[in-house]
Symmetry: C2
Subunit: 220 residues, 2 copies
């Protein structure tokens, strides 16, 4: 029933899942191509194969959608990835900007037994070091509907950073230096054409939209 997928196949499925979260259209080959850093021809190739395995719905010039089976694979890999990120961060003292790359490789090779041990050690956590939700052991995602990107908040609202949706090492490092890390308290000072003006601790920043849209906040 599960003839063991390759690393590549797992990465495609995971990426399709992540790209699907942004809209409900099928994911385009070009989109996958860019995010996976392979050429579009390679994507078409792989989509055909995954389609034959009934892991994606694919028709030429249509794009790709995960089947339920494909979604379950994606969630499993995502669980590995995010548990590993948290483990590296919490237990081994990695910075949040370092964990993604390492987890990207480890996610494919850890056994279910190791996954379980890690989850146990971490107390069955629901979110990783970037605030990304960790699928539970039975592959359900926790409810995250109460978090919003900075760009959607109104002036005067206060809250704390609850998620950062970039994996870029240098961006994450930059945010650390600005004390824009998880749980940091902040207030919206202004929503402007060129960014979001915020107050954090003693500091004030004008965060470019590009960056602000990746910082999610829980208000209180």
């Amino acid at each position: 029933m599960t003839p063991k997928l390759t690393e590549s196949q797992e990465d495609y499925l995971k990426k399709i899942f992540l790209l699907s979260e942004k809209h409900d259209n099928p994911v385009s080959a070009l989109d996958i191509s860019e995010h996976l850093k392979v050429k579009p021809a390679s994507v078409t190739n792989m989509l055909k194969k995954l389609s034959e395995l009934n892991l994606v719905d694919y028709k030429p010039y249509y794009g790709a959608r995960l089947t339920r089976a494909g979604e379950l694979v994606a969630l499993e890999v995502l669980r590995h990835h995010r548990l590993l990120e948290l483990y590296l961060s919490e237990i081994l003292g990695f910075g949040w900007e370092e964990v993604h790359e390492e987890a990207e490789k480890l996610e494919h090779v850890i056994s279910e037994r190791l996954e379980a041990k890690i989850a146990e050690k971490l107390g069955h956590p629901t979110h990783d070091p970037h605030g990304d939700p960790i699928p539970s052991a039975d592959l359900e995602l926790p409810d995250d509907s109460h978090r919003y990107p900075l760009t959607r908040l109104k002036v005067g609202q206060k809250g704390f950073i609850s998620r950062v949706t970039t994996q870029d090492t240098d961006s994450l490092n930059m945010l650390s230096r600005l004390n824009l890390t998880l749980k940091a308290q902040l207030e919206i000072i202004g929503q402007e054409r060129n960014g979001v003006r915020v107050e954090v601790e003693q500091d004030r920043f004008l965060l470019p939209l590009e960056l602000a849209s990746k910082i999610w906040v829980e208000t209180h």
Copy 2:
């Protein structure tokens, strides 16, 4: 200079290193073939490739010997492997019979940074859960000349188990059940044609030669 080796290449180099430890002859293709569970033709193929990379000395019908460069790769992988085994065992509560398989895959994907974190967490250990020596960060093997297989000891000698040279899950599990684990105190009661007779705690066993030869002891 180091164009990143594949998992396969690393496994071949590691296996050649381990097989070389048993004698000083070049390692035969058949030997590699059996231990790596690939066909001899595949071995020949790979040896040619590794030879071109100057990682092994290879001439047709001669066998393979690691070059210094190849040996360093092998030691690096071995360090990963054994550190991981110990980590899984000590920190995550895996049994000594479970760790080998897991480490076999992880050894190829951990970064030098993760290797260092693990070594640090473990206090820069010199031996893994089977008593196998762990190469140091600069790839030196600790001196292990004071340990001998059970089959070489004389009647009356006492000591403790210091190394077990099998990775077979079921054999290791069996040994656990018999309390024949690292540090177990024992005394040689007899050296016989069909095995070594030992006393461990309250128990006495006649260990078949096949098994006894894999149990190494430090005497006192």
